[in-house]
């Protein structure tokens, strides 16, 4: 079981890094690239005997308490089940 947590700035928060990268894209000649927002990506793996329910709780806690600053950021979780 693996979770991927994607952290992004809230839409209302200015992203100076994203803006700067977008300008660089323009300079490269990629004029169709109008907006870039920078974020973070975390792969989280669990001990084998972790139940899916408990895993979900852990990831919520991790995302809320550590990986994001709720003043400026939000997150979404993508689950990957090992076959």
């Amino acid at each position: 079981m693996k979770a991927t947590i994607i952290v992004t700035l809230k839409p209302t928060v200015l992203d100076p890094q994203g803006i700067t990268i977008q300008r660089s894209a323009q300079s490269m000649g990629l004029s169709e690239v109008t907006v870039i927002r920078q974020g973070k990506y975390f792969d989280v793996h669990f001990a084998e005997n972790t139940s899916p329910e408990h895993g979900k709780e852990l990831v919520q806690k991790l995302a809320k308490d550590v990986l994001t600053n709720p003043v400026i950021e939000e997150f979404r979780i993508v689950w990957e089940q090992k076959s």
């Binding site: 100076p16 550590v66 003043v71």
Partner: protein
Amino acid sequence: MKFGVVIFPGSNCDHDCYYSIQSVTGQPVEFIWHQETSVKGFDAVVLPGGFSYGDYLRTGALAKFSPVMKAVKSFAEKGGLVIGICNGFQILAEAGMLPGALMRNSNMKYICKFLKLRTATTDTPFTNRLTADQILNVPIGHGEGNYFADEDTLKQLEDNHQIVFRYLENPNGSLHDIAGIVNAKRNVLGMMPHPDRSSDPLLGSTDGRLIFESMVNALAGANRCE
């Protein structure tokens, strides 16, 4: 009265704070390693500047999990004086001891220079030696000092006079030109500019002294009341 300067892995203004506070106030100062679980015996706690935990994840984000922070938090809840300078401010914001967040500067630059601050309130234990609107010459050195908070929080800060210092010329995009704020109880101050780097004439300004002197003043007053 005893000052404690916390050292996190990656702090680098700990000795500046130690030296400035000791030489300005003549009071005893001790370092507090971040693994400590108590700040007993200290009258004021300083979270110094630097790059705690390498600024990994977000500035100040991982320092809030250092064992000492639990003690600093309960110290502040009991009314103890806490000042966070630069990275210390970032840590206080991440720890939820001050509202808002410090984001990347809006102009792509790490800025290290002297600039002017306007004193927005003298009604704090950190500014009681200052006069209203007094201009201070204090340096900044940061890449992430761009203060952000939502509208409601900003209104609250304005209404309660929690904004302590404002930049005369905003260097980093901070909302409302905020350079430093206190909590609602007014015993926790976070500021991006460095009073520790402006307390010795050799460094070009001694305006930062007034902040440390105010703390001593406040503590002396508090002791008298007891």
